[in-house]
Amino acid sequence: MSSLGPAFLGLLETRPQHGYDLKRAYDEHFATKSPLAYGQVYATLSRLLKNGLVEVAATETGSGPERKRYAVTDAGVTDVEQWLGRPESPEPYLQSTLYTKVVLALLTGRPAEEILDVQRAEHLQQMRALTRRKADGDLGDQLICDHALFHLEADLRWLDLTAARLDELSGEVRDR
């Protein structure tokens, strides 16, 4: 489930806001790659409106287009509270593409070790970029990067473990 809806509800819980302010607040706190598109902001708000999780607190008409100020409803507060309390399901990655690649390489007599090496280099490259970004970022940025870094590191541990057991795996794959 996307975290955009609950994030909007939580931000609106701090105070009622216009769509534009909401987007800005979201970008400031959570945007990791690129800022939110306005289309996404208004699509999310209209879904929350339809579900009764937010309401229009005020409509301002001025020289430009009319601006709506949104507020979270009681149902919205309950919704965000439930979302916060619900654990995310840990992704098990049981049949990863990489595993498939390694087994296919072994089955077809291609060098599986090279696949692991290439992947290791790619992962490390990504980790370097995140490490550099961390150095320039604030604490929020650092924590977001750390989360990604620890996940990449877990993949790398798997790559190393698999590399160390390729001969064994190769035997098993051929015997099947």
Binding site: L124, R128, A135, L149, L156
Partner: protein, 240 residues
């Protein structure tokens, strides 16, 4: 009209002389072969991570590159000297003046204050106490351990101790820093602080760093990695 662009063809790279390069190193300890064909080339100012599982030979490789251990075969070129064949006196001089060392456990002298520890390599090089300690204090401030200058290593936390050791490795303004699992004994937060300060300070001074580690998050502070497996590395050009 299109302007000719510089060639980026990997087959015709800009020929630069590496600062430190090893070709086909072999080293055995008794019946155990630690290195079979290990090669590596480092540019001035480059930070290279030497990775590989425990027992892969990466620490032996580092010791050979630093002139601490002599390989049974192969060549180690450093600024025109083959470290595999250089006389002991030349190797000791290099280790004192042009190389810096940082290990998993700081190996600080427990009887000396942290400031005296950091100043020690300069004192061994004949610098006066006052100038040596002034330089040591400056570097300790840079590594955020200025406040433990008068303490002994035993009175410091693990992270502080490693930063003191990093300051000692950097104090002679070495051209190459050899760091063997420098954060192996620290938690994530302290380990990162040591790495960030070590690599930042090395980059500021233009020093190269050879970073031995099996941890990807540590290797991510390098410019590139070389993987050692069963005493072997991928081949590089230039060996004879």
């Amino acid at each position: 009209m299109t302007r000719p662009t510089p060639s980026t063809d990997p087959a015709t790279p800009e020929q630069r002389t590496p600062l430190l390069a090893a070709y086909g190193l072999r080293k055995s300890f008794g019946l155990t072969q630690a290195l079979s064909t290990a090669s590596l080339s480092m540019e001035e100012g480059e930070i290279v991570a030497l990775m590989g599982p425990s027992g892969s030979g990466k620490s032996t490789f580092l010791h050979c590159l630093a002139g601490v251990v002599r390989p049974d075969a192969g060549r180690v070129d450093y600024a025109g000297t083959d470290l595999a064949r250089a006389p002991d006196a030349r190797l000791s001089a290099l280790r004192r003046t042009e190389f810096g060392f940082l290990f998993q456990f700081g190996q600080l002298v427990p009887e000396l204050s942290c400031l005296e520890n950091v100043a020690l390599p300069l004192r061994l090089n004949g610098r006066r106490r006052r100038t040596a300690e002034r330089e040591a204090a400056r570097l300790m401030e840079r590594l955020d351990v200025g406040d433990v200058a008068r303490k002994r290593p035993g009175e410091c936390s693990g992270g502080q101790g490693q930063r003191v050791a990093a300051a000692r490795a950097l104090v002679t303004r070495p051209r190459v820093i050899f760091a063997d699992e420098p954060t192996g004994s620290l938690d994530s937060l302290n380990g990162e602080k040591v790495l960030r300060l070590l690599t930042d300070t090395a980059r500021e001074s233009g020093a190269s760093v050879l970073l031995v580690t099996h941890e990807p998050r540590v290797a991510a502070y390098s410019d590139r990695e070389v993987v050692v497996r069963d005493g072997r590395t991928p081949e590089i050009g230039g060996g004879r």
